[in-house]
Point group: C3
Chain length 140, copies 3
């Protein structure tokens, strides 16, 4: 069975930077020979995650960050940091909670999403990163 | 490669209403020509999510709700609400944490699940909604 | 379309035991006839979940556990426990938050992961368990 493997690369600012990947997935689908199927998306690295959100400034710049800060505070105590003299213990915890994978359906070469639902990468690391998201398309 | 795209539509009460979708997935599998494969499930909209849970009243009506209320309280302060004069900031946060997608294996036309493990849609929005879950079947 | 269904079985200690499944997925891929594709992984049961993490002792033995203990404390009050005279209400909540499914890309018979990114099963139940993870491979 044919499967297509594509890459999306994005530059992030880190620190719970939330990027809208929807236009990037549409670019991949435009390049693809498949029109209907399932897009398996997976972000490489242990300090970033994938999910969906209504991409508007209130949620993206404030509310989601505030919730992650409550769940795993930036200045909390982490053995990861004590061991590795690192500063991103909270980044790892947040990323594991969100998870690295997402599967999105598409028909007629377009992802099926709600009007106010966008696919996002959240980079929890404490510095700028270039991130790679592997996109695999299965379908016909 | 053939792929089947199905829809499940459900009416919810909103407000962290948790619905058992397992019988609905079995209905889809009964209609399908595939007997073994992977079911990609995706809920349309940014205020609902998919996961699995033991579907019993204690967890569904009380314990899960209480945990979500702790993580993202209904009467918390959300910029999303200030901006859009809306009341569902907490709904968006909860939905992004759970995520919209789930992939479930099936063999002999039945989903492979634990005895006490059911597939659920959680509708976090603050009103009644009709929800659409896209189910894509890949297999043979 | 051919799809391969494999099983991974692991013995856990329960109590938020975190196990690295990466070598086990590589074993499955070594047995497979497919070299490029998507691995759908699903853990059977409602008190365990799958995600990725940097598998080092600080995160695995301390930081992740501490975060789960904050989100859903072991000695919290759960209706699930009152109803069923059980002690694993927190296990169910934690498992539903993490979710049972993960989809991982592979090429040349190897999973595509970050250098510090491992696939983990987290067993939240309060006793030793044998866990079954269904792995379905789609590709070519």
């Amino acid at each position: 069975m044919p499967i297509e493997t594509h890459d999306i690369k994005v530059d992030t600012k880190g620190n719970t930077d939330i990027l809208d990947l929807t236009p990037r997935l549409i670019e991949v689908l435009n390049l693809s020979e498949l029109s209907t199927g399932l897009a398996g998306m997976f972000v490489i690295g242990s300090t970033a995650g994938l999910t969906t959100v209504e991409y508007e400034p209130g949620l993206v710049n404030h509310d989601l960050r505030a919730c992650f800060e409550k769940i795993a505070p930036e200045d909390g105590e982490y053995q990861h940091e004590a061991t590795w003299h690192d500063d991103n213990g909270h980044s790892h915890i947040r990323a594991s909670l969100i998870g690295p994978s997402l599967t999105v359906p598409f028909t007629n070469g377009q992802p099926i999403l709600g009007t106010w639902q966008q696919i996002v990468l959240i980079d929890f690391d404490t510095r700028q990163r270039q991130r790679r998201v592997v996109v695999q398309l299965v379908g016909e």
